[in-house]
């Protein structure tokens, strides 16, 4: 581990409460003082001393001269003393002594103007009133050795022995003892005359002392200057997920996590503080992922059980150390490491079943027939007299109706999926060598047949401390994924008559369920007709070496290599759905590979020192070199003879086409960070980074940032609030981050061969060579997109950290937004449908937001605990200008869906405001519409200065910005209840204000449509759905053209994302069989969903409206076991 030690020397746990000002504390202090010999020096026995450095003996001698105090010590003992650097002016003697001995193995007591120096733990003889003995145990009753026991307000301390037992002699027997141990919450116990104590320490540490991982180092939360949120491993696995990123949902203010697909193995979309980038190419708004200090894109390859913590860097001052890479936020994943000591074995396992029992059905039976009749009536204004001629259904369909052969295609398409994750990890080692190994297996079966994922994961690593100076190690991650995917099918259920026989008599899938040529939506479920399989081997190896030539200096070199080799094979026989639909008479197969190899080489130097006690400095310097390379190949084959070949005999095809491709890019960086802390109260971080990106023309740029923090609660004038205000910190930061996240080669104009995508033979037998200019036109001015971010944060801890509040407000101004701008088509194009594009720094945008995290230990008794965390995020993004090359900003670019003054990708379409009702026939006629037609909002047209007040037939000019897909705010609410051995976790999340295009509302007026559609008929004057029309030439179907307005709805929702109930075996029982922890749990996912729009009651709006792979409800049972 290369941790950057910002635990400055000057910041010791010296109790400052010795000089309290409030009366209560003063009284207590006076009592203690009067009883304790240290009282002498509290009377302003101040000294001035300067040493750069000096030996302890010299210092003692100096102090003796100034104070007249005698110093008693063993000179031999002091030979092991370290030299002391100190610059103190008029400081109390005690404070100076504390400082001088802070890093030494000595302690002191003062007896009557005499300072006695002793080895630590060799307590000097005191006037003793009482001997107290005690045992310290953890929550499970296991004794804890090595706990520091300190008499509050003194330097008297001891520690527990191997059995967790301590003995202390106390002056009065009424002191307060403070118990501290790493990884446990410190506890104060009043002795109150007792002689035998039993102390139970709770796991967890003070929030302020939690370690937060920042770029290239760690920092205690109390010393943080930027906006960083942390999620601990325990929270990530508390609700089982197969993708660790999904666990971040609702836990990090400012991070929007959305799972848009229920497809097996699909990753959620993550967005930190809104969209800044305009790039249409996917992924450009993705945050940077750093796993154990190494950038990695494949976070999904991590098993959630391997994760120690995830830290999210949000503001520019935090991300600045990553320069251009960090523009969209940085997500730092730290995996579990081995520790010296006891070997730990963890086994985590769960199994869950998926199913969306309530997925909306298509119309069935009489309801469907009535729907056809209603459509006919709408089109012909008379009731149908005959099924076949009027309703336009085939005789085969008519026969099926007569025979009652109805098929529920939604039911036939979906199945019950399941999900399981099994994980074993072993960690341990000696002081010098630590190692860990974990093995994981994930199996997901989606809700379509053929949608499944199997992933095998292993992580292993070792760290060796060769000597005092050299430490080295390696971490590795191997992931093997075998992923079958299928086409979305459930939407087809609404495009086919609910009739016929889904299966043949022998149980096989009936290709043509109605024998009229309509292809079965489950045709691909027949064995062997369709395969789409991806196999992916991902290997990341990160060796490092770390030198510590000086105490506070570390130099580390990381070299990370990732290899990712994926192969996709797709096979469609002539009996597959797609082939049958077009009578495609041949088999086709595609075999493609994608080979990524990246390396990253980073050198990090950390140095920190304290100057004159109160001034702590730290410096971090980094050089970094990244290389990303991808090689692709693809072989398409058509006309294979046998299904059994799949995609493994492409040479046997009548026609094959192949292609290969290479892309590579590099990033080089130099950066430095400077930290300064004065008394731990005033904190300053300055970061600067120089980045060079190969894909830009003006390659190099600089990204500076600075942040300050003020721990107000440490100020003297705040002393009166100490009993209720544990922490009050104000933070402010400003920084620049950049974005070079554009594809390679876009700054070059080159010639490519295009004979694969647009082959031409001109009547010959072979493809002719085609050499054309690449689709991207070079931009000689291409440079960095830069975001200028200001962040103000306020951290408040109340009531001994029972309540912790972190709030952030930010303002980001992004300049020179990179965009692959579509060039005027008159400049030519790549082909008829693909205009040239040029990457250009095109516009500016503003992102504003407010974030709050409130963490409350509502109830914290020994038996019952209730912890509640609320995160709230409000974001507002706006495109402020679009520069097309003139000085005037374009207001709107409709064809690109860009509008200044709006969020970056708004929903621009017709806005449905209802349905024309029967009594509005006269008004509707002015729009060339009739009752039952959809009623849209219109934009007035000015003709010769006269407005038509919007009364005209609808056209595309009536489209408007209906909304935006970004929520106005999101909220997560996590509740953890622990009662004895039971734990209950309830997680609620809400997204509010986003507009979604719900696919499920877009199946209107098909061969069939969802049964829940409440559509208009003369007798049903609803405003939900317009009157369906039979396709007919006799009467214009006014609704068809405006169907796109129907699925656009307010997508606000609140849902209980999961409920977990767990039971942990009591420690005593487990320890008898060598088990240190055994927990069983059950989790229910997506149990309750409330959508603001009543139209969405049948769909999970979290997908943002997509229902190709609907999200499902899920029940999971699992176990955590540790030895």
């Amino acid at each position: 581990m290369y941790t950057f030690n910002t635990e400055f020397q000057c910041r010791r746990n010296t109790p400052r409460s010795l000089k309290p000002l409030i009366i209560m504390k003063l009284i207590i202090a006076l009592i203690i003082i009067s009883l304790f010999q240290a009282s002498a020096i509290t009377r302003a026995q101040n000294v001035t001393i300067s040493a750069n450095p000096a030996t302890l003996e010299d210092i003692f001698s100096n102090l003796h001269k100034q104070t007249g105090y005698n110093f008693i010590y063993n000179s031999l003992m002091l030979e092991s003393a370290k030299p002391v650097y100190i610059e103190a002016t008029n400081k109390p003697l005690k404070q100076v002594l504390d400082y001088c001995l802070s890093n030494q193995s000595f302690t002191y007591v003062i007896e009557d103007k005499t300072v006695i120096i002793t080895q630590k733990n060799n307590l000097p003889v005191m006037k003793l009133a009482q001997v107290v003995k005690g045992t310290v145990v953890d929550a499970k009753g296991n004794s804890i050795p090595g706990v520091t026991v300190k008499v509050k307000g003194t330097n008297t301390l001891t520690s527990t022995d191997v059995d967790g037992v301590f003995t202390l002699s106390l002056p009065t027997g009424n002191e307060i003892l403070v118990f501290t141990f790493v990884g446990y919450q410190s506890q104060e116990v009043s002795v109150a005359g007792k002689t035998l104590l039993k102390i139970v320490l709770e796991e967890g540490i003070s929030k302020l002392d939690e370690i937060v991982v920042v770029g290239y180092g760690t920092v205690k939360k109390r010393d943080l200057t930027g906006a960083v949120s942390s999620v601990k491993g325990a929270d990530i696995v508390s609700n089982p997920v197969s993708n660790p990123l999904e666990a971040l949902q609702g836990r990090v203010a400012g991070l929007d996590v959305q799972r848009s697909s229920g497809q097996a193995g699909s990753s959620p979309a993550l967005l930190v503080r809104g969209t800044r980038s305009l790039n249409a190419t996917g992924g450009s708004s993705d945050p940077l992922y750093v796993v154990d200090g190494i950038q990695q894109s494949n976070v999904a390859a991590l098993n959630p059980n391997d994760i120690e913590s995830i830290d999210v860097l949000k503001d520019a001052s935090s991300t600045a150390i990553y320069g251009s890479q960090g523009a969209n936020g940085v997500i730092i994943v730290t995996t579990k490491k081995a520790k010296a000591g006891k070997t730990q074995i963890d086994v985590d396992s769960y199994y869950g079943i998926n199913g969306f029992a309530k997925y909306p059905k298509a119309l069935q039976g009489d309801a469907w027939v009535q729907y056809l009749k209603d459509r006919f009536f709408a089109a012909n204004l008379r009731q149908p007299t005959d099924f076949v001629t009027d309703l336009g259904i085939t005789t085969a369909a008519k026969n099926a109706i007569d025979a009652g052969q109805y098929v529920d295609w939604v039911n036939e398409t979906l199945k019950m999926g399941n999900q399981q994750n099994h994980h074993v990890a072993i960690r341990g080692g000696s002081e010098k060598v630590q190692g860990y190994l974990s093995l994981g297996f994930i199996n997901e079966q989606g809700i379509y047949q053929g949608d499944e994922l199997k992933a095998y994961n292993t992580r292993a690593g070792a760290d060796v401390q060769f000597n005092k100076i050299i430490k080295a190690g390696v971490q590795s991650n191997l992931n093997w994924r075998n992923d079958n995917t299928t086409n979305s099918r459930v939407n087809k259920a609404f495009g086919i008559a609910p009739l016929g026989l889904a299966y043949n008599a022998d149980g096989s899938v009936n290709k043509f369920p109605l024998s009229d040529g309509t292809v079965s939506p489950i045709a691909n479920y027949a064995p062997g007709v369709f395969v789409n399989n991806t196999k992916d081997l991902y290997l990341a190896i990160t060796p490092y070496v770390e030198l510590t030539p000086l105490k506070n200096l570390s130099i580390r070199s990381n070299f990370g290599v990732t290899l990712d080799y994926a192969r996709n094979g797709a096979f469609d026989s002539e009996n597959s759905y797609n082939a049958l639909s077009v009578n495609q008479p041949y088999k086709e197969a595609t075999y493609g590979t994608n080979f990524n190899y990246n390396y990253i080489w980073e050198n990090i130097i950390n140095y920190n020192f304290t100057f004159k006690m109160d001034h702590a400095f730290a410096f971090t310097g980094i050089t970094s070199l990244l290389n990303f390379t991808t090689e692709n190949s693809s072989i398409y084959a058509q006309g294979l003879d046998y299904d059994a070949f799949l995609y493994f005999n492409q040479g046997a095809a009548t026609t094959t086409r192949s292609s290969t491709k290479y892309t590579g890019k590099d990033l080089a960086s130099f950066s430095g960070r400077f930290n300064y802390s004065y008394k731990g109260k005033y904190l300053l971080t300055i970061t600067d980074r120089f980045d060079g990106a190969s894909q830009l023309v003006k390659k190099w740029s600089q990204f500076p940032s600075a942040a300050v923090a003020w721990r107000i609660s440490d100020e003297n004038f705040m002393a009166s609030t100490k009993n209720w205000l544990s922490n009050l910190k104000l933070r402010g930061g400003y920084g620049v981050s950049g974005n070079s996240n554009i594809p390679p080669y876009v700054s070059q104009t080159n010639v490519v061969s295009n004979s694969i995508s647009t082959p031409v033979t001109l009547g010959g037998s072979a493809t002719l060579p085609i050499y054309i200019l690449s689709a991207t036109v070079a931009n000689p001015d291409l440079t960095w997109e830069k975001s200028y971010n200001t962040n103000i944060g306020l951290d408040i801890s109340l009531f001994n950290e029972r309540v912790n509040i972190a709030t952030e407000a930010y303002y980001t101004n992004t300049q020179g937004i990179l965009y692959n701008r579509v060039l005027p088509s008159t400049a030519g194009g790549f082909d008829a449908k693909t205009p040239y594009v040029k990457y250009q720094n095109i516009g500016t945008s503003v992102n504003r937001g407010f974030e709050a995290t409130i963490d409350v230990r509502v109830i914290a008794t020994q038996k019952f605990k209730w912890n509640s965390i609320v995160t709230y995020t409000r974001t507002d993004e706006k495109l402020t200008s679009l520069d097309l090359g003139s000085s005037v900003s374009a207001a709107s670019l409709i064809s690109l869906n860009l509008f200044t003054g709006s969020p970056i990708h708004p929903t621009y379409d017709w806005k449905k405001i209802g349905i024309w009702q029967t009594d509005e026939a006269v008004e509707a006629a002015k729009y060339n519409l009739r009752p039952g037609d959809v009623k849209l909002q219109t934009n007035p047209i000015l003709t010769n200065g006269v407005s038509d007040n919007g009364i005209h037939p609808y056209t595309a000019n009536d489209k408007t910005i209906v909304g935006h897909p970004n929520p106005n705010w999101t909220m997560g609410w996590q509740n953890t209840f622990v009662y004895k051995n039971f734990d209950l976790n309830i997680f609620v999340n809400a997204r509010y204000g986003q507009t979604i295009v719900a696919q499920l509302l877009g199946y209107y007026n098909g061969v069939n449509q969802p049964a829940f559609y409440n559509y208009w008929t003369p007798n049903n004057p609803t405003n939900d759905f317009p009157q369906p029309y039979q396709s007919s030439t006799s009467r214009t179907n006014n609704n068809t053209a405006f169907i796109s307005s129907l699925p656009i709805v307010d997508g606000s929702y609140i849902k209980i994302k999961n409920i977990t109930l767990g039971y942990t075996l009591p420690g005593k029982i487990g320890s008898k069989v060598g088990i240190s922890k055994l927990r069983f749990y059950g989790t229910a996912y997506n149990t309750f969903i409330y959508s603001k729009s009543p139209l969405l009651k049948n769909v999970d709006p979290e997908t943002g409206g997509s229902d190709s792979f609907p999200l499902y409800k899920q029940i999971v049972f699992g176990m955590n076991l540790s030895f």
Binding site: N380, R382, V388, T389, G392, G517, L550, I555, N583, P585, N603, T623, L625, T654, T655, T663, G664, A668, F670, G692, S694, T749, N750, V751, S753, T758, P759, V760, T761, L762, G763, G764, L768, P769, I770, Y771, I772, S774, V777, V822, L823, S825, T826, G828, G829, D831, A832, K833, Y836, G885, L893, I894, S895, Y954, S1032, T1033, S1034, R1035, N1037, T1040
Partner: protein
């Protein structure tokens, strides 16, 4: 202590210099999948790759939905099926800058132009050709293609942007300016004159432009140029170019198909057997049968857009929409107008003119055997005598020889076609007495069934509650749907003519009239075309007299000859008949919204307006 500092220092310096060195090298992009522009285009291999690329855009036009609307719709010949493509067919309010198909043709033409400009730019410097003449013969293809593209642009969009330098050299112009329509024509004609002078007589690949195509195109654009004035001058040029080709067919390697005793020459033009080696196609979009085309097998879907409702009503009589022969009836967009069926074509079963029968499918055979039930007889107002009769299936494995699909494919029309036994739907363009129709054991939809006698438009079912609703039933354009080369129920893999010799005769005739009202010459050319539209025994019935020769007559003759061949809108525009009055008289549905102030050009695509700084200079072209 000191020495370790020293070591450290050295280490740091080494590290930094190593990193700096690597960066410099690493930040240069390595891109082995491409070559530089100069390397590619200054040598023959890359240059010919560029010339080949000039052909690719054209594949997004002919036989594609994006170009059917702009080139054929909004005319006297067609109406919209159920409101499909209504902006171009009916000039309704949906015709605005965001209209999808216009973006494709605009983008396709300008894409082609930039490639041609690039080829013309590099012609002086390209290495590897034996003589400058060889270079000229090659670059002439680019001159031709540029003329083709500018011709389409100026006709569809008016005086828009005219550029002759490649973007790779001139940079991106984000404030493009308009040029006049005459400037466009000056460029087009000069490009084609270069092509006429330099192209080879015969190209080794039939899809490559040969000199015959250049002359035909020159004739076509000169004729079209007459709408801008200098009528005589350009008509004379058109006539000269057309005459050069007509008079020297052997020299230019082309020939008109002539009639014989059993088949008309016209029938032979569209006979599948002649498709891939057609003497009359002067320039065709050649289609590779193994899918080596832009868009692969997704070709020849014209037939689908002109198909009637074989899946709906047709099923009552035994057809369905998944047969390979007729096509898949799920993307129906266009129907022939009453004017085309009954005025352009002679509505007479015994007409000597075979062109209606060879332009349209009007007999659809059953896909499956179908017994006529009483319910169906009643619904279709048939005589009870037809109840119980069975229409036998016509579907069988192919019986050859006009096919190329693999064994096992079934076609309609293979069996039971003698005496039309398996006839399922019959849509003649002549009227059959009602009493006769009632007794015919198949669906019959003749013009009296389809059209409202008062308006000439297709009947609106609600206005004729006592009639059978035949609104989805009509003859289907079949020029591009021969059984030979049908591939799937969607795709047809035949070559697609862009300009053919038959049209050159009609250009010559029109040019002769415009030049000096030479009706005699006009009649000569027209009669050649008319004569080969009949079988030899009836050719004499086709003859027309010089006195009948007017532009309007030739316009009608062009409809008979060229309906569906991507030219009608241009013809109306050229001849001055793209007017509300003409449309009202011929195809009133289309006339309703027609506004001469804007509908003679198309709205400029929104994507272009969004990409330039001076959008107001282009506006919406009046929309």
């Amino acid at each position: 202590m000191k020495s370790s500092y020293k070591k450290l220092k050295i280490g740091l310096i080494l590290t930094c210099s190593l990193v700096t060195f690597s960066c410099k090298k690493a930040l240069e992009e390595y891109n082995p999948s491409t070559v530089t522009v100069d390397l590619a285009y200054n040598n023959k291999t890359g240059y010919e790759g560029l010339i080949n690329a000039c052909y690719t855009d054209m594949y997004f036009f002919y036989g594609k939905v994006d170009y059917i609307g702009p080139s054929e719709m909004g005319t006297d010949l067609w109406v919209s099926y159920s409101g499909q493509d209504s902006g171009l067919t009916n000039y309704d309010a949906t015709l605005i800058p965001s209209y999808g198909t216009l973006k494709t043709i605009w983008g396709g033409w300008y894409s082609c132009i930039n490639l041609c400009n690039t080829a013309i730019y590099y012609a002086p410097s390209v290495q590897g050709y034996a003589t400058p003449a060889d270079v000229n013969a090659k670059v002439a293809e680019a001159y031709f293609m540029r003329a083709w593209a500018y011709f389409g642009l100026v006709e569809q969009f008016g005086g828009v942007v005219l550029k002759t330098t490649p973007t790779s050299q001139a940079g991106i112009d984000i404030t493009p300016v308009r040029s006049s329509e005459t400037a466009f024509y000056d460029q087009i004609i000069s490009d084609l004159q270069f092509a006429c002078a330099n192209l080879p007589m015969i190209q080794p690949l039939k899809g490559r432009i040969a000199r015959k195509a250049a002359f035909a195109m020159l004739a076509k654009v000169c004729l079209q140029r007459t709408r801008l004035g200098d009528v005589q001058k350009y008509a004379a040029m058109a006539l000269t170019a057309a005459k050069e080709l007509i008079d020297n067919q052997a020299k230019y390697n082309c020939a008109l198909y002539q009639s014989d005793a059993t088949a008309s020459g016209f029938a032979k033009v569209f006979d599948g057997k002649n498709n891939k080696n057609n003497t009359e196609f002067l320039w065709a979009q050649t289609i590779d049968l193994t899918g080596l085309n832009p868009d692969g097998f997704n070709r020849g879907r014209t037939r689908q857009y002109f198909l009637p409702d074989l899946t709906g009503k047709g099923v009552d009589w035994g057809t369905n929409g998944t047969g390979v022969l007729y096509g898949r009836a799920n993307a129906k967009q266009y129907k022939p107008s009453n004017y085309l069926l009954t005025s352009i074509f002679e509505p007479n079963q015994n007409t000597p003119d075979t062109r209606f029968a060879n332009t349209f499918t009007y007999k659809y055979y059953a896909s499956a055997a179908k017994t006529i039930t009483a319910a169906i007889a009643t619904a279709y107002q048939k005589d009870p005598s037809v109840v119980g009769k069975t229409i036998p299936t016509s579907t069988a494995f192919y019986s050859g020889p006009d096919y190329f699909l693999a064994a096992g494919t079934t076609f309609e029309g293979e069996i039971n076609t003698v005496n039309d036994a398996a006839l399922s739907i019959f849509t003649p363009n002549w009227t059959i007495p009602v009493a006769t129709k009632k007794t015919l054991p198949y669906m019959v939809a003749d013009p009296s069934d389809l059209f409202d006698p008062a308006t000439g438009n297709y009947k609106v079912a609600s206005s004729f509650p006592n009639d059978v609703d035949y609104s989805g039933i009509f003859p289907a354009l079949k020029k591009f749907s021969s059984k030979m080369y049908v591939y799937t129920n969607q795709d047809w893999m035949g070559d697609f003519p862009i300009i053919r010799l038959g049209e050159v005769y009609l250009i010559a005739a029109e040019a002769a009239l415009l030049n000096n009202n030479d009706q005699f010459t006009a009649a000569q050319y027209v009669n050649v075309i008319r004569a080969r539209a009949a079988i030899t025994s009836r050719q004499s019935e086709m003859v027309v007299l010089p006195g009948q020769m007017t532009v309007r007559y030739i316009l009608n003759e062009r409809a008979r000859e060229l309906a569906g061949e991507h030219t009608r809108w241009y013809d109306l525009k050229r001849t001055g008949f793209l007017t509300k009055a003409y449309l009202q008289a011929t195809n009133p549905t289309v006339a309703v919204n027609f506004d001469a102030a804007k509908h003679t050009v198309r709205p400029i695509p929104q994507s272009f307006l969004d990409a330039i700084v001076n959008a107001k200079d282009f506006g919406t072209n009046g929309y």
